[in-house]
Every structure is written in C-alpha cells, then in structure tokens.
Symmetry: C2
Subunit: 703 residues, 2 copies
C-alpha cells in the first residue's frame, strides 16, 4: 500500500471514540461509513464496549482482531496523544484526528499538536488533521465516507481538498444540489503532517479525477507545495480559493487553523508558478468547477450562441466580449444550413436568435450548425422554457449534439424547475448528457472564461530558468565581507560587487572624498557626470537634495561639489559618488524580496509614479524562466510606454529581460538577501546603454 | 384615472386575438388574467366569437358592452394598425401591442411601428410595446396578470421594468424561486410610446414599491429619462443592467428591440447623474435586489459577523474588507455580554466564531450583541445546518433579532434545503422574518456593498449647477461668425473668444505673421514665450515639430522664428502663435463631447500618458454641480498627483473646478458644440496662474 492509499483506500477503519448516541460525531462517522456501504471493515472502539449499530465494539484498539489501515480519532484534545500511541502500537497506517483545541487556539494547543507530530514521526504513522473533518472516496471499490457531515456522495470526477471544514461543506452541498458527481474529498484542518500538497499530488495520480477544487488558509511549506503541485496542474485544472487575504481575514485564519500566509502577492505568484487557477469568489469557483468536471476544455476562445430569448443572449454576448472572448460571425456553411432548414429563426447571426416556438428540430439544427462551424470552439445554448414548447425536445437536441461533438457545450436554462415537473426533468436531462446547466447567463460566460484561462496556463511553454554565467563565489564573498549597516543594508560597493558578479550592468561610477579625487573620478568615468553625496545617514539622497545631475564639465563639477559639501558639512562617512550621467533613458525598477518558505519574489515596474502611486507592478517567483521575465515586461499596464509612446523610441527589451533573469538568479542563489532594490534601472533604444543607477541590498532573514 | 393607471389598474381588459387553443398567447393571456383573479372584467375578442374559458367572447371590440381601459393586442404585425384603430374608436385608454415584426426587423417594420405611433398620437390612446410581453400588478385591489408568461405572482415590494422579455422572465423566475414578493412588472419591448422612464416614474409614486429593477437595451430620449428618473432614484433604489455594451452586443440589440445606445460612458454618466445603481452582472443585480426588497439600507459600512463555521466567515470578512467595508472589533459591551452568557464560542471577536453545536440561545445572544453594538451598522449571520442542532432554533433566533432591530440583517445559510425537510423550513422561516438568505458568502457581501453604494448615492448633497457670470451672446456670436474649417473645427480665435466669454482663463497669446509682428507680440505677452506655427493643415502642432518652448529673449525668439519659417515654408494660412510660456505646471485635460439625446459629457484627466495610455479619465453630464466638478478631480486614479507627489507642491484645485464648471455650462448652453478639447490646461500651486494653453472646438450635430 503506497502513499496515501491507506487514507483513501483503507481495507479497515477503526473509529476511536465511536458512540451509541445518534447526535454525536462518534456515532455519525460509524453510521456514515455503513450507510455509504464502505467495502472494508469498520471497527468501533469505545471503552464501554457496547455494540454500535449492531457492530461489535472494542474497548481498545489493541483488542481489534484484524489489521487497521485507518483510524478516525474523536477524543478530547488532551487525550489525543494517548489514542495515537495506541493506534501506532496497533500498526495503524494513517490516523485522522478530528478533535480541535490545537494550534488554532494558541501556544498551549500548538504544544499539544507538536506532541502528536512527534508521535507520528517516531512511529511512521501518518496524521491527518487535527481540527478537521475527514475524507471521502466515491470509488465503488472502497466507497469511503469517513467524515462526520451530511452531504450525499455521488460518484463523479471532481476531487476536492479544503482546509476549512465549513467551506468544504459549502462546496460539497453545492455540487450535491447541482447533481455534479465527486471523486475524492479531504478536509484536513491544521494539516500538521499530511499536507495539502500531498493530497493534491495523490489526486493527480488518480485517473478518475478530472478537476480539483482547493481551499487554502495557510501553507506550512510553500516550496513543497510548488514542487508537488506544479506537475499536477500541468495536467488537471486546479481551481483554488485562498482565505485570509485581508488583515482582518488573516487574523481570523490564525484563530481558525492556526496558520498565517498573509501576503497576497506571494499567493498570486505561487499559484501562477504552480499553474493554479485562482478565484476570489467561492461561487464563481464552484460554478466553474462544474463545467470543468463535465466538459472538455475548449481549444480556443471563439464562442457561438443559440437562444430562444433574445435579451439574455445579448447579455451572454456582452459578457463574453468584455471578458476577452470572441463572438465571431457564423461561417458561410452555418448560415447556409440554417437558412435552408429553419423556419423559426428571427436572426441568423451569432447569437442565433430563434422564436420562442423553436423546438427540438430547430435547436438541433442550430446547435449542429454551431458545433460544425470550424470558426467556433464552444457553444452556449441559452433557453427559456415556454409553456407551449416540449422542452424535453430541447434537452434531447442538446444531448444529441453533445454526443457527436468534442467542442465545449454549456447550457443556460432560464427556468424555474419548481414551476413544472417537465422543466425540472428538462434540466436534469441536459445535465445527464454531460452538459452543465446554469441559471444566469453570466455563470456560463464565467465558466468559459476560466476554461480559456486554464487552456492558456496549461499550454504555456514549459522551460527551465536559463543557465547564466555568474560568479556565485564572488557574490558570496561580497556578502560575507560586507560592512552591513543599519537595518541590514549592504555598503554600496558590496552591493555593486554582488550585482557585477551576476553580470548585472551598473552605471560607470567611482567614489571619492576630496575635491582632487572627485575631479580624477569624473575624468575616469567621463563627462557628463552626476555627483551624489553618500553617507549612512542619507538613505534617500534625492529627497535630501544630495544629488546634482547632468554636469557637463569640470567647472560645473566643482560648483556642484562645493555646494554639496557646504549643504551637508561632514556627516560621518560622507563620500561622493561620481557617476556617468545617462540622459534620456526610461526609468524602470527591479526589486526582490524574500517570501517566507518560498524563495524570493522578483518585482518589475516603471519608475516615477508607476510603482509608488499607480501600483502598476508585476511579481513572480525567482528564479525566472526567460518566458516569465519577458512576460513581466509585458505584464504592467503601462507596457506600451516601453514600446515608444507619442514618438518616443521603443526601448530594447532584451537587456532588461537579462537584468531580471540575473537578479532572480542572485535572489535564488543567496537566501541571505532579504530585499533588493534597483531603482532606477535606465533603459534605452540602444540596449547596450542599459544600466542600474542605484542599487540597495538588505541582508537578513527575510520578512 | 391618471397617468398610467389604466395600464396598471384597469377596471377592464379586452384581449384582442383571444383564442380557444391552450398553447397560444391569445389563450394564455385570458387564462392568466382569470387564474390570477383579476378584479376587473375580461373581454375576449375574436372574430369567431366562440366562448373562451367560459367567458362571453366578442367578434369585435366595438361589440364590447362596457368601457375598456386596457386592450392587450395579439395580432399579426400587419393587422396591428387596424386593431388599434378599432380600440381607439372604442375609447380604450392603453393598448399593449404584443406582436413583433416592427422596428427590430428593419426599415419596413419601423414604418409599421411609426404607423402605430401616429394612431396613438392622433387618438390620445397610449401604446405599450410593440414586441413586448405585458404588465403585472400584484396589488390585491387589481391583481392584474396581463402577460403571456408563466411565472407565479407573489405580492411584495419589488417592481421591475425590463425592455427584454427574456431578461424579465429570468428576473421574475429568480424572485419566484427565492420567495421574494413583487409589486409591479412591465416588459415593454420597443417602447414606442409609453417609455421606460414613465413607468419608473409611476413606480416612484407607488408607496408599496420599495426597490426597482431595470433592464435597458436602448433609450429613445435619455434627457426625458434623466428628468423623470432622478427624483425617483433619490427616494428608492433603482438597480439597473444595460445590455448591448459591446459592439457585438449592440448589434444584437439592434435586431432585438431596434434601438442603439452603444456608448457605455454615456450610460455610466446618465445612470450616475440619475442616481441609479448600475450592475454588469444580472446575477448580482437579482441577488442584491432581494436584500433591498427585504431589509433597510444600513446607516454605515461597519459589519458584524456571527457564524457556526469559521472558514466561510473568513471569506465573508475578506470579501467585505477588500470591497471597502469595515469589519471592526466588537465594542466592549458586546464582548462582555458574550463572555458572560456564551459557552459555545470559539472566538469572541468579529467574526464571532461559535462551535458547530451552537443553537438558538447562542445565536440569539451573539446576534443581539451585534445589533446592540453601536459600532456596527449591519450584521451577517452565516450558518451551516449541522445534523445535531435544531436549526429551526437558529431561524427563531434570527427572527427575534430581526423584530427588535432596524439594522440590516443578512443570512448566509450554507445548507442543502433538499437534504432535509427541516433545513428547507429553516431557510423559509428566516425569509419569512424578512431576512434575505443566500447560499454563498459572497452574495451577502455583494448585497451589503451595493446597499452601501446606494446610501452614498442617496445621501450625496443635492445641489444645482451654480450660477456663473457668462456672456452667452458673445459665445453665440463667436460661433455664428466663425470661420469653420475642415471637420468643423472653429478658428482658434473664435474658440478662444467663446471660452473667454465663459470666463475660462486662457494663456496670454497673440497671433502674428511677419517677424516684426511676432517680436511685437512677444513684447506684449512678456518673456518667456512659446512660439507655435499654426495652419489649417497643421492639426497636431507638437507632433509636426511646429512648437518652440521656453524662449527667454528676443534673440532666441528670432532663431525660433527663422527655424519654424524655414521648416514649414508657407502653407496656406500659416501664422505664428506667440504665447506666454508657463513653466512647471501640471498638465491636465478637459474635454467635452455631445451625447446623443442627452446634452453633453465633460471629461477630465491628467495630461501625458494618463488619458491616452492609461485611460484614467472621468466623465460626467453637463452642466456640472460644484460637487460633481470637485468629484471629477478626485475621481481619477492619479488624483494624488494633484496633491503633490514626492515633494512636488500640491496644485490649487479651485480654479480647475471653476474651469470644469464653465466648460460644462458652455457645452450645456450651446448644443452646436460637438466636441471640445482643452489640452493642456496648466495647473499650479498658485491658482491664479491656471490657464488653458491649447483649445479646440468642433461644431456639428454631435457624434
């Protein structure tokens, strides 16, 4: 038995804390296992030893005659350790710890939880939870419902893992109400041992799982998550919601599952790197998962629409187009076939708008025209259920086309299934044909938009971060020898040395103190120059007036020198930085920051107002691939400025991409960098002039 | 009988084209009227004269014995005129024309529709439709269901007017399924006579209508809409969806209700001026309308949350906070009361997180603490229905608090009402208590966010556009005398004269041709100056290199003059513009454009990349109130740049507000202005320097 098989395919389940009282969790687990026809053996364990639901009960797990793969433990938090020791002694492979009162309640609970983790580590028994609900597996080979809740279990292709039990039940009930079958379910609360990522990896290996729903509150090990989940997401859509994205929400998460992963940009970068579809709305996630579970992912973004009600189809059109999808004209063949065969068509166009009297033949012909049109990738059938139409015929028409096409079909049935038995049956029949049915037009659009988003994520080129010629040792020496000042900032020379070791182009510069040295430095770097006063006390040189730019000659240099020297007197450590002055470049900013447990993030944005005021920035995980670095340049809203705007020349992007790659490699290679800020980097039409003008590196343990 | 009373409170309805065949519209209207116990008299009219549903039928409306308030006409499009003539001869007050085949089908249909309008105008009979569904009124005094569809009618406080019949039914069915009672319903298709605005005005005067839902495809008379609807929206929330917002959608609207109002910025400005809440999602509109129909609008944006399931409440928290709502800490009294009375609380905070075992007493105490907390304006109760809890008790607790508070209560019931009869009853009981019940957390958040948006719209100061000293006659003279060039552009002097007549500050400038004149002009305006080549062929002076800035003295002026003269030779009409050069101002852009049927829109944005590249602009209807003009300055994303950024001084906003007010007045007073572009206007810390540097005005009939 490999991996998590003992959790999802146990041959036997012991329920530690089983109970005779119907309204207890200890009773519910046993009755759920039996009611859902678990194919293995159930062993209720209870000190009193009285039979539970006609099963023989055992006073202790040691008394159980056979082997126990899975133990579901429902005892007080303070008794959990003892129960686990007994389980481990029995040779239990996985234990679900239902009880709460652990890390989520503070330090004392966290200590209790550590105790459980230690037992698991010592004995090799895996732990699921604590503070959790349990698992389900609808595979008829096991038919496992080791969970205390009350949603029904219908076999299907959607698997879910949710940290929050409440959210798990919201999702679970939703799919139950929509008639969407499920495959596996796990709600593992504090996730002290078996991680969310392990479960996702397990789902990845399960052929019957077509789509995965993920609810996350915190991650103990984001790097492990990325490593395990990326290969899964490359094959199967993973739809995820992350809670605790606001300060208020994160505070609530801490008292809920005890975790904290508050930085939303980190979550974004992690999910994007993994290839996960992030949602901010639970409703949108659930509605969209339904489409992924039932229909193939479209090969493109061109959608045809057929309707018996004009105005809702216009809403479908508006929402598709404003979401970046295409609603193209019908092909000539489609138009011709419709003109020949259909009487009840008000408008042969896209949407195909039919009369309210349209029935099976008309819907069939119209849908066939859409699925046969080579210019379309998906079709939405959007229908009312008029009282004078056999709506079962509409369902049959949809079913017939669903059988003969591998294009994506989505239905919008704007009906009240409680209004007429026939309408309820119509909706059920379309669903049985594997076509998702939504009530509102927007839900269908949303599903198609996210399917298209998945297609683009899935089909993005797979590449590795490039090999770069860098001098790792030289950078390490710069960090080690570094004179680290207040707040952990590296001395400018050390920062420069580290960047140079990684091939990042710096503007030509020299440091000097006395006037003669400054003059010599300027001769070396060549005019025009910029002169900047540097001292540990001067963090923001420009704001302090410590900068003179565009100095054309020695006379100007001397004036600037005298003026700066007078303004600043002689603070400790005062020096002058003489830089080659680069006129007319485009200012960009490249940044980096440590992301706890996940390496580092690289940031890119335009200088000036764009980063600080407009927050027009992109983050990605280091190290970057070339494609990712290129995507960062194109990912900001102001990207057209890079290509020239109102007559300004386009900048050469290649050297900027190179800077991003090298900085990301530096961050990845040297975890001692807490923060890095190249501001500005100047970019030019002539790429050979690209240069970092100011660089700051802060060492530390990260934020 | 006043206004639309004959439509919504008829004493008698004649059904022209009534039928004996059950699956026809002519049958359905009669049966709907009878089934819903219309309190007046129904007169089926059909040439065959056979009884319909046991009612005496009349061969012609002329044969009807009594008076007829409302006629519901179901005949072919080509027979509609004849039917209407007969109705008018009988003295019918309002006729609903069900039939399609009018303006929505093209020119021939439009001519038919014009024929109907002419009959109405000549006879005084009002027309509703054509290409429409009908009306309903649940007021038991009339109980009118003059509509061919099939949704049930439950009395309540929500009235709707929808241009699209399909959308009307989607909304109608939704409220039916949610158990939300309705008041009046109108779906008037092409709206050839009785307008959407008249119906909204009528709903405004109906005391039982608390919230109005509007679906719009096109408007024949936006100005009438604004005039009639603004006073309604000031008292009652109007939630609106506009279809046809994309090019593809607008094309479909044209073939649907025959209208076209494609410019989305105009719709935005119109709805905002009217005080209407615009939605882009039909689902969001419907879900939110439910809350407005059932609950008071909160007095502020501070929300308390109570839950028996931690993880969904965290989603509520995240979504509230990221939408700009507050989830503040509980007050001391609330904390104390909870600490004293509640056992089953996991976390006394906001959200109040209770154990899954929490029942009536705990929910009651927690909800009471929230509604009694003076620091909160609304409460969300977010609950699962665990099998071991009497969930009816949770409903009773909510009901009890709903009775004693005027704060806003919203419920999220994450249950499957089909799972257990008890759960279905729990949900129904909460709804009967007047508390809306949603399934997903996000729906409750969305409702509160839009209620808060309505509160701010409703409570914005009511003011009139200010009286400004302007010289209307002088502007008119400038337009009349104007030498209008290619494309309708006014000569620069005329544009300047019109702006000066309205008190818009222009930079000091003179026009000249020969060098001596240029030199004299520069002496008049005073150095530094800018010199610009002007000719009808030079529309974009700067792009053509026809501008020299920051000229400090006569020598510089002469160099610039020679250079420009040489560059441009002597195109027809070449002149030189000598302007005072204003250094260091912040460039803003003020624009104006005619909006068909709606006066004009004023536009404001920052110069440079902000308008063209980042599309960071605000539009409002002219004429502006002072508050609106001030809101425009604050409405762009880059607004902080006006207040100084990284050490730049803040600009004086007052003179810019004044420019916006005066430009908006100019646009409102002179419909002959098609387009106006002040680009740039320079703004300074010293407001007295504010000046328009370049102005273009185009005359015409608008776009």
């Amino acid at each position: 038995m490999d991996g998590l098989d003992a959790l999802f395919y146990p041959k036997s389940v012991a329920v530690i804390g089983a109970s005779n009282r119907p309204l207890t969790i200890g009773h519910r687990i046993v009755s759920n296992l039996l009611a859902n026809r678990f194919t293995g053996t159930v062993y209720p364990v209870n000190p009193k030893g009285e039979p539970i639901l006609d099963l023989p009960t055992f006073a202790s797990i040691a008394d159980v005659p056979g082997e126990v793969d899975l133990a579901h433990v429902i005892v007080r938090n303070t008794q959990a350790a003892e129960a686990l020791e007994a389980c481990a002694a029995k040779g239990v492979k996985v234990a679900i710890v239902n009880s709460s009162g652990f890390k989520e309640t503070g330090a004392a609970g966290a200590a209790l939880e550590e105790g459980l983790v230690a037992i698991g580590r010592r004995t090799g028994m895996r732990l699921f939870g604590p503070n959790c609900q349990g698992v389900m597996n609808t595979d008829p080979r096991v038919s496992l419902y080791s969970n205390f809740t009350f949603a029904e279990m219908t076999p299907g292709h959607l698997s879910m893992v949710c940290q929050g039990g409440g959210v798990a039940e919201v999702i679970n009930n939703y799919f139950g109400m929509q008639g969407v079958g499920q495959r596996m379910y796990a709600s593992n609360g504090n996730a002290c041992d078996i991680s969310i990522a392990e479960i996702l990896e397990y789902y990845g290996g399960d052929d019957a799982t077509r789509v995965i729903v993920l609810h996350l509150e915190s991650l103990a090990d984001p790097a492990e998550f990325l490593r395990r989940v990326r290969p899964v997401a490359a094959r199967k859509p993973i739809l995820a919601l992350k809670s605790g994205t606001t300060r208020e929400g994160a505070r609530a998460v801490a008292s809920h599952t005890g975790g904290l992963m508050a930085d939303d940009a980190v979550t974004d970068a992690l999910f994007e790197a993994a290839g996960i579809l992030r949602f901010t709305s639970l409703a949108a996630l659930c509605e969209t998962a339904q489409a992924f579970a039932m229909q193939p992912v479209p090969r493109g973004n061109r959608v045809g629409i057929v309707t018996n009600a004009g105005s809702p189809a216009i809403i479908v059109t508006d929402e598709l187009v404003s979401s970046g999808m295409l609603v193209p004209d019908l092909g000539e063949n489609a138009k011709a076939s419709l003109g020949d065969t259909l009487q009840a068509i008000a408008s042969i166009a896209n949407p195909i708008d039919m009369m309210a009297t349209a029935a099976e033949a008309e819907f069939g012909a119209a849908l066939a025209a859409l699925v046969d049109d080579p210019g379309l990738d998906a079709a939405v059938v959007c229908f009312m259920t008029p009282f004078f139409v056999d709506t079962g015929g509409i369902a049959r028409a949809i079913e017939a086309q669903a059988k003969r096409t591998d294009k994506t079909l989505i239905a919008v049935a704007m009906t009240n299934p409680e209004g007429k038995q026939e309408w309820r049956e119509t909706v059920a029949q379309v669903r049985r044909a594997g076509v998702p049915v939504y009530y509102f037009p927007g839900s269908a659009v949303q599903a198609l938009v996210h399917m298209d988003r998945f297609r683009r994520l899935r089909d993005r080129p797979r590449e590795e971060p490039p090999d770069l010629e860098v001098d790792t040792a030289a950078a390490r020496t710069a960090f080690a020898a570094a004179d680290v000042g207040a707040g952990g900032f590296l001395a400018p020379e050390a920062a420069g040395a580290a960047l140079r070791a990684y091939g990042v182009p710096l503007v030509c510069e020299r440091r000097a103190m006395a006037w003669e040295e400054v003059r010599a430095a300027a001769r070396e770097v060549g005019y025009p120059v910029a002169l900047k006063a540097e001292a540990p006390s001067l963090v923001h040189k420009t704001d302090a007036g410590g900068v003179a730019l565009a100095i054309d000659d020695e006379a100007g240099l001397e004036r600037a020198y005298r003026s700066l020297a007078e303004r600043f007197g002689a603070p400790p450590g005062l020096r002058f930085l003489v830089q080659r002055y680069l006129a007319g470049g485009t200012e960009v900013i490249v940044g980096g920051a440590r992301a706890a447990g996940l390496g580092a993030l690289v940031m890119f944005g335009l200088g000036g107002i764009h980063v600080e005021l407009l927050k027009d920035v992109v983050f990605k995980l280091a190290p970057l691939t070339r494609g990712e670095a290129e995507a960062m340049l194109g990912g900001i809203k102001a990207a057209p400025l890079l290509d020239g705007f109102r007559g300004a020349p386009a900048i050469d992007r290649a050297p900027l991409v190179d800077v991003l790659l090298r900085v990301s490699r530096l961050l990845a290679d040297h975890p001692e960098i807490a923060e890095l800020d190249l501001n500005p980097v100047l970019a030019f039409a002539d790429g050979s002039r690209t240069a970092v003008v100011d660089a700051r590196i802060r060492l530390g343990r990260g934020t």
